[in-house]
Symmetry: C2
Amino acid sequence: MRVFLSGFGTVGQGLMETVVIKKDLIRSLTGEELVFAGAVDSKTYYIDPKEVCCFCALGTKASEGTVGHAKRDGKSVIDIMEQCEFDVLVEAGPTNIEDGGEGLANIRWALEHGKDVVTVNKGPLALEFGALRKLAEDNGCILRFEGSVGGAMPIINLCRESLAGLRIKSIQGIFNGTCNYVLSRMDSGLPFEQALKEAQQLGYAEADPTYDIEGYDTASKVVILANSVFGRDVTFKDVNLCGISSVTPEAVAMAEEEGMVIRLIGEVSGTKLEVSPRLVPRNHPLAIPGTLNMALIDTDMAGPITVSGRGAGRKETAAAILSDLIAIARQRKKE
Amino acid sequence: MRVFLSGFGTVGQGLMETVVIKKDLIRSLTGEELVFAGAVDSKTYYIDPKEVCCFCALGTKASEGTVGHAKRDGKSVIDIMEQCEFDVLVEAGPTNIEDGGEGLANIRWALEHGKDVVTVNKGPLALEFGALRKLAEDNGCILRFEGSVGGAMPIINLCRESLAGLRIKSIQGIFNGTCNYVLSRMDSGLPFEQALKEAQQLGYAEADPTYDIEGYDTASKVVILANSVFGRDVTFKDVNLCGISSVTPEAVAMAEEEGMVIRLIGEVSGTKLEVSPRLVPRNHPLAIPGTLNMALIDTDMAGPITVSGRGAGRKETAAAILSDLIAIARQRKKE
């Protein structure tokens, strides 16, 4: 299986490290080798008709900050994919929730050219899921995206495969570790700004935290769940959205008096699509503190099923991508 | 897809009801009809070259206590399967942890004759997993058993499929709702006998509760996890086993003073295989009260992942079987 890797930030590097470390496991699970046919970052690329040397790519990144020595010089990722023989595109480039950006174009091109796709880039999924699903079907391609929601917390493939016999009535969850960290620090009486600063110092929040704090990240995730698990056709604009920057210490204190905490909850069902701070009873599964993600899946026949796991991180997201790659290899092998 | 149903107790009836109710969902997910070719209980059987009428079978069960009108008269389930054209055996007969009983013979026969198998009968899996797995491989058959551990809580297919890229280091869990109900009532100061009696009155515990209370049920489940998730080759006898009948109110009170509760924990890893009452910190995920099952899956790259769900019940176990049947239909369709 030949993989083309678009994006060589934290997640892209994590995937390459993982593939090196898990070479034997991958072979034993799929019966074949997983190699990189090419990799591209914002400035350079590295393609090889045999295979990319992962140590070289990771080494060049460490010493020079780029994946390879060939300059892109205005070449798009598609221009580079066109020069490369591969089976699966892993799209791990920057998320763009305005228009999907280059990631959307890459995924489209790959599906149109018969390549399977694994993406953790949320923009294309939140904006054009219906069109991409159809493109995959029409071209006999597989499109998987477990790592786009909940990092290492199993949710999408779980709902679509392991729980296939159940009708999922709703999913409520904590899908952003940054917001949850900030809110759980506010439980202890810290004001918002101070809790956020602490999250930034610990590396849980970006220098510009808007995307997380205002709920855009969580909103992308509920859109992906709505489209993939509930078969809806919605985009980012359809989400009832409120972030956490207006949560005050007074509100937290009032919640506490009632035995509640405030959490940023994403909720999706056949009709609902909402992200907002909500009161949650202190002993409820969704009152979980810290940076974990947690989802409560309500089902017709089995009542509530909960899952939790680390929602982000280099290794965690890489593991989700790898599970999708293994699933594709197994499925292709059976055909 | 033609299904032969061995066992028409709570779970077997629940499956038939579910298939009736979810006819459309099953067709939309698999592109085919799921029909019963035959069903057998301890005294009677009902086979039909076209398809079993589910309403008739459920009606006969309600009015006469049997699945059909044809008496078994010494015929084994195998004798009946031999007269029947079908694709998949669902083994939902009584669990026998001594020698696997008729369920083991049924599964063997089915795999030897090229039938796929879904089993919730734990005996055969706890005693002969290695041999059954090999038989399935040698005959190109699929063997699935999600409902045998944790009821509707996703665990086996989750670990083997959704988490395929991760190395699972250990699984610790609560796999028996009866024990957990009794222990969580003991948290409130009830003595063991009284908590057990309450569980029996509520229908959570059998009249003879030995199988649950002494940990045999949990032990079967850790054996199934050891063999299927960890690739070990162990049986029931290899489990370090201690049940909950010796947990005293004094022990519970001492635990409480330390901020702990007592729970019956099954633990399995590459080397460990243990079922015993353990002290668990009160805010730990495994301190969950009530009848839910809960598992904490520790992984190499993604740290801890938790899942919880209803561990037993007519509809819940039926849903797990149905998910396995849908997975088989999808896989067979792709081939």
